[in-house]
């Protein structure tokens, strides 16, 4: 491939400074994150009293947000590992987007779980007194592991790109240059080095799959290891993982669209990508739908007394509006949109992606709260406000702040590093061209 073309790719894919839009975006995110921090300050000062959680609804949107983050972080393994191992080539430009979503989501998952703790300053007790029998400890272990594996999976493919970045000393400025050099000055593009990274990436791609499955399975066990109606299910791990793949893929589609339009990457994130991701999304939505049928239809068929209240609350009762909203936005409508070829063009796919993500967030809410409000023994001998759960502004601010924080991490990452792997794109274009020649 000629040098000109290569330069063009590099120029296209280099990270760019924030434009006006970018700045407004960042300022908005910073504002929401700051609001979240402020609200958390209040929570630290007054205790969990500032939330609407009470003895029955003892977990609220913090935990659903946590589950959401863990779910969306699973996408790293889907795009990078699953597609790589099955030799799917078209996913290359999406890997880094997926990986950074994974890293930032898993980071904020751990932060939000600390936010949920009544005594966050005793966090060290988890290490001092940790009991291996508790699913929370399992979660701590697998989340840490997943975080490091994701980080490595982000890092290895970044090395050749770092070398390219280091070449643009002027453009980078002092700080970034230092950062790049710190991270990758030793990369010399030698064969031996490539051999190591290729191998490492393959190992990671394999290792990340079981770990990714465990983070979400273990997260589902936080619920499934209890007796409560709606949680007491052997189906839960698979149900959670299928849902996680769905929301993760939806998140990637959304991110793809935003990066593509904002950085003008139409040549690299093509319509074809949206078409294929759209199909993946339909597949995953159908899969999730299948598990939902299992989760709700089977107990509804029996209508055990303990389950009845819970299920009716979802189908026709207090939570029915959110329930049907979540079911339709996260599954039926996206499936409907994406089944059509026209629906898989960037904009409609983007909209479908947003629907999936929003719907899935509420789906997580429905997994956590309604169950807690339908205990085995009726709610009794408590103040009236213990019977309901309507999150307070502090909870919304903190949950929103954590989402904004996750987006900030992604945004800054894209500002500093090429969001589409430059080196791999060059290689792939090359091999494509070679194919054409023959």
């Amino acid at each position: 491939m000629d040098k000109l073309k290569e330069d063009k790719i590099i120029a296209d894919l280099l990270p760019q400074e924030f434009g006006k839009q970018g700045r407004i975006w960042v300022i908005c995110l910073l504002f929401f994150a700051a609001l979240g921090v402020f609200a958390y300050g209040r929570q630290l000062y007054y205790g969990l009293e500032v939330t609407a959680m009470r003895d029955y609804a003892s977990w609220g949107i913090y935990i659903s947000n946590f589950v959401f983050f863990v779910a969306i972080s699973l996408v790293g393994s889907l795009i990078t590992a699953v597609l790589r191992l099955t030799n799917v080539k078209w996913s290359t430009p999406l890997t880094r987007i997926a990986e950074i979503i994974a890293v930032s989501a898993i980071t904020f998952a751990s932060l939000i779980i600390i936010v949920d703790m009544g005594r966050p300053e005793r966090f060290y007790n988890l290490f001092l007194h940790g009991r291996l029998q508790s699913p929370i400890i399992w979660d701590v272990i697998v989340i840490t592991t997943y975080f490091f594996i994701s980080l490595l999976l982000l890092y290895f493919p970044l090395l050749p790109d770092l070398k390219i970045m280091i070449g643009f000393k002027e453009r980078n400025g002092k700080w970034l240059q230092k950062l790049y050099e710190f991270l990758g000055s030793f990369w010399k593009n030698t064969k031996a080095q490539f051999k190591i990274t290729d191998k490492a990436i393959n190992i990671l791609a394999i290792a990340i799959i079981p770990v990714a499955f465990s983070i979400h399975t273990v997260t589902s066990w936080l619920f499934a290891t209890t007796y409560r109606p709606g949680w007491d299910s052997t189906n839960f791990g698979a149900y959670f993982i299928s849902g996680a793949f769905l929301v993760g893929a939806g998140g990637v589609v959304v991110a793809m669209y935003i990066f593509r339009t904002h950085y003008k990457l139409e040549k690299y994130i093509t319509n074809d990508h949206f078409d294929r991701m759209g199909k993946v999304l339909v597949l995953l939505a159908l899969l999730y739908l299948y598990f939902n049928f299992n989760e709700f239809l089977v107990p509804a068929f029996k209508m055990k007394k303990s389950e009845e209240e819970h299920l009716l609350g979802l189908f026709t009762g207090e939570f029915a509006p959110i329930f049907w909203f979540a079911i339709f936005t996260s599954m039926f409508i996206p499936i409907f949109i994406l089944l059509f070829k026209k629906g898989r063009r960037p904009l409609p796919a983007f909209i479908a992606g947003i629907l999936v993500v929003v719907g899935s967030w509420f789906k997580r809410f429905l997994i956590v709260t309604p169950t807690l409000l339908h205990p085995f023994l009726p709610m009794h001998d408590v103040p009236a406000n213990y019977h309901h759960y309507i999150p307070t502004w502090e909870e919304w601010a903190i949950a929103g702040g954590s989402l904004a924080g996750a987006l900030l991490v992604i945004t800054f990452f894209a500002r500093i590093f090429p969001i589409i792997p430059i080196h791999e794109t060059i290689i792939e274009t090359e091999s494509l061209e070679n194919e054409k020649h023959f």
Binding site: R131, L152, Q193
Partner: protein, 274 residues
């Protein structure tokens, strides 16, 4: 201002004190002092009341035998100290007086109880028969007492279990009662010993008098506990072996990979620096 002053003059509640006499095994004699008051039409136990206790009468300073403060449950225990001896040996009946001074919330209060000295002898006979005899002090000698209601029971935590269906026994002219032990295979201690009690409960004249005896009529207790067993609900370090193997195995495996990859980064760096 006068308004304010009037508000200050809160009406004080009446405090009701109680004194109960206990004689365990003819040795450890003690008093239980209690305090209660009617609040919102119901009697409630009152804690934190300082009470002074006297023997015979409270006019003589030497008769002071102790003081205490009622607990949150509105009572305290006072063992009768050796200093009460001079008064104690004087007469077969004794007076105990409890007095509390007025405080911010309560008027001063006073309670008195009079008891006649009594003791019980307990013994057993063949066929798991429990015999007990009640003696009371008449002048300077112990005389058997008839017509007093007594209980024969097995001593248990917080309460005594009657030795049979018969709830109470009344002493005959020899002061004696007798009952058959019918609690077959009731768990005793590790040797199968049970402690039997013969007692008078809340008697107007004698207070609470009890005597104990240990008998081997119980089923020996084989004490087992799964406290040190490995289980999912055991404490840290006591998780089931399968769980430990599984968990540590997985952790080791995965982290070995991560550490291996860390070394690979080092190799890359080395290659780059060469």
């Amino acid at each position: 201002m006068p308004h304010f002053l009037m508000a200050q003059a809160v009406e004080k509640n009446t405090l009701v004190l109680g004194v109960k006499y206990y004689n365990d095994n003819n040795a450890a004699q003690h008093l239980v002092i209690s305090a209660k008051s009617k609040i919102d039409g119901k009697f409630q136990k009152i804690g934190n009341i300082a009470v002074k206790v006297f023997i015979t009468n409270d006019s003589n300073k030497n008769n002071f035998i102790g003081a205490g403060i009622t607990s949150e449950r509105g009572e305290f225990i006072l063992f009768i100290p050796p200093s009460a001896k001079t008064e104690w040996v004087k007469s077969p009946t004794q007076n105990f007086i409890a007095i509390s001074a007025a405080n911010k919330l309560y008027e001063e209060a006073r309670a008195e109880t009079t008891i006649t000295k009594a003791k019980i002898k307990i013994d057993t006979a063949d066929g798991k028969i429990v015999n007990a005899k009640l003696f009371i002090k008449v002048d300077t000698s112990w005389q058997p007492m008839a017509g007093v209601e007594m209980v024969l029971a097995v001593k248990r935590l917080d309460g005594n279990l009657n030795i049979s269906e018969t709830a109470t026994y009344t002493s005959d002219s020899a002061g004696a009662i007798s009952g058959e032990f019918k609690r077959d295979s009731l768990p005793g201690d590790q040797k199968g010993n049970l402690i039997l009690v013969a007692n008078i409960i809340d008697n107007d004249v004698y207070g609470n008098v009890a005597a104990e005896i240990m008998v081997p009529w119980g089923k020996p207790l084989v004490y087992t506990t799964n406290y040190n067993h490995r289980s999912l609900f055991a404490r840290r370090g006591h998780s089931p072996i399968w769980l430990e193997l599984l968990a540590y195995g997985i952790i080791l495996l995965v982290w070995a990979v991560i550490i291996y990859l860390g070394f690979q980064i080092r190799n890359i760096i080395k290659l780059g620096l060469d």
